[in-house]
Amino acid sequence: MIAEVMGAICVLIGIPFFLTGTLGLLRLPDIYTRLHALTKADNVGLGFIILGLAIQSGSWLEVARLFLIWFLVLLASATSCHLIAQAAFEKNIKPWTKEE
């Protein structure tokens, strides 16, 4: 019962981070700043959801599998973030800067 509630709380904490990632995609001005929002907010959001599901799960194998998934997503998202930023930079896309 306690585990159920704790798990649910963690999942609920994770959701706003995913929303932030999407809101950032809409509000931020260029490709680089959007990458910031998507990689970071989504990683933390997924982290909380994984943590919540791990607390609710009954078996250690499932917990290990959940954290393995988190790790693999982390690796994939950091890699693709870097590759997209690098491709944008090589295409001479200038980063947006604040007007002085």
């Binding site: 950032g24 393995l68 590759l83 930023a85």
Partner: protein, 179 residues
Amino acid sequence: MIVMNFRSRPNPSLPLAAVAWRLGLFSALWFLLSGGDIKSWPFGLAASLLATWFLMRLPSKQPRRVRLLAIVWFIPYFVGRSLLSGVDVMRRVLHPALPIDPALVDYPLVIDHQGGRVLLANCVSLLPGTISARLGPDILLVHSLDKGLPVVETIKDLERRIARLYHPAAKAKRPEGQP
């Protein structure tokens, strides 16, 4: 980030122990992900063989042993930083005025181990306010969400922590006289 470089020669001698070790690791990974379903094993074995083959083809110029205890110590730092960075980006995006002031920053790399550099570039994307835009031979180009953040100091600290993961400790000290 996996840097593929197929131009260099693959490892000429294929040490059986190294192949077996990697194959075992990938099979264990598959077992964990598939939950031990027997029907999935043909796919798992094929994928493990393919992954091992890829891994053996990658050049390993500087084989370095990693320090397991140091990795354990690195995890809470990494999780804490990721959390901070998620909260930071959330605060900026939700703020009505959208308080960002982006800039590109050159970070001169000190760590000499290629694997460590790749790990650094990946971790930089998870630190508050920074993503790595390009990993050059000696410079890591970083995009910062806010000029006011202490980008160089933060990455320097991260670089020192990453250098400690390798055994013997990878060089992370800046040579005298350089900024």
